[in-house]
Symmetry: C2
Subunit: 143 residues, 2 copies
């Protein structure tokens, strides 16, 4: 009762620290950043998609999406082209090379995630996901 707020604070601080620790670890394990792999994963699921639609899927700022895709284009992992019908749209797709590389990245990601959750039972995972979903909802609708 009396220490309940202290624990609440610990939850929020823990979330923050988990993130800080995950970022470098994820990248050193998989060889790619979490966001960038998420973008590639979405591209993997489709033939071609506009940057706008992709941005809505990953829910990241437009600016960040543009920069990631430009860098991925430089690395020849994705191909970008303008829609001839509506020049405002840029369509993005995976190159063959990109499609191959992703497979390896995703294996490493799977290994990483398995390690992070290795001592969680199926029920625990379910509970955790449900709780995180609620937290996310609460943050989005706060104030």
């Amino acid at each position: 009762m009396s220490n309940s707020y202290i624990d609440d604070e610990k939850i929020i601080n823990r979330l923050y620290e988990i993130h800080r620790r995950t970022v470098p670890k994820f990248e050193s394990c998989t060889g790619i950043s979490q966001t960038r792999l998420e973008l590639l994963h979405e591209l993997y699921e489709v033939e071609e998609i506009s940057q706008r639609a992709l941005q809505k899927k990953v829910n990241i700022d437009h600016a960040a999406v543009t920069r990631h895709l430009k860098q991925l284009e430089d690395k020849e992992m994705v191909i970008r082209r303008k829609d001839p019908k509506d020049q405002r749209f840029t369509y993005v797709s995976l190159s063959e090379e990109g499609r191959l590389k992703i497979i390896h990245y995703r294996e490493e990601k799977e290994r990483f995630i398995s390690g992070v959750l290795h001592d969680f039972s199926a029920e625990e995972r379910k509970t955790l996901l449900e709780m995180l979903t609620r937290i996310q909802h609460n943050i989005e609708h706060f104030e």
Copy 2:
């Protein structure tokens, strides 16, 4: 069973998204960043502390600590002085003004956290904290 990995992925992605959403929301609600408030909170608990000891407490990179403290010094919230006995150490303490301001920040933080966890029972909070602690441990000891 067959979709268990998909859910694991959702957990990790959710953690990532929670963080991204929390950062701007926290700052707009409280008027200060989470890390900076954590630093101030540690300073609030003591008379004076070395940057090194402070860094160990908050567990953030040295460089980030230095930069935060310099900015807080510019805003006259903290005072820094070298240890005359050992010039390598810099001791940091809150200014009177800093000490006053923190009270307000912490009230806002409490309001924020209450909002984020408002629909969690005491048991759920306990379970969640325990799970997050395990995840953090797993990340730190992975590989």
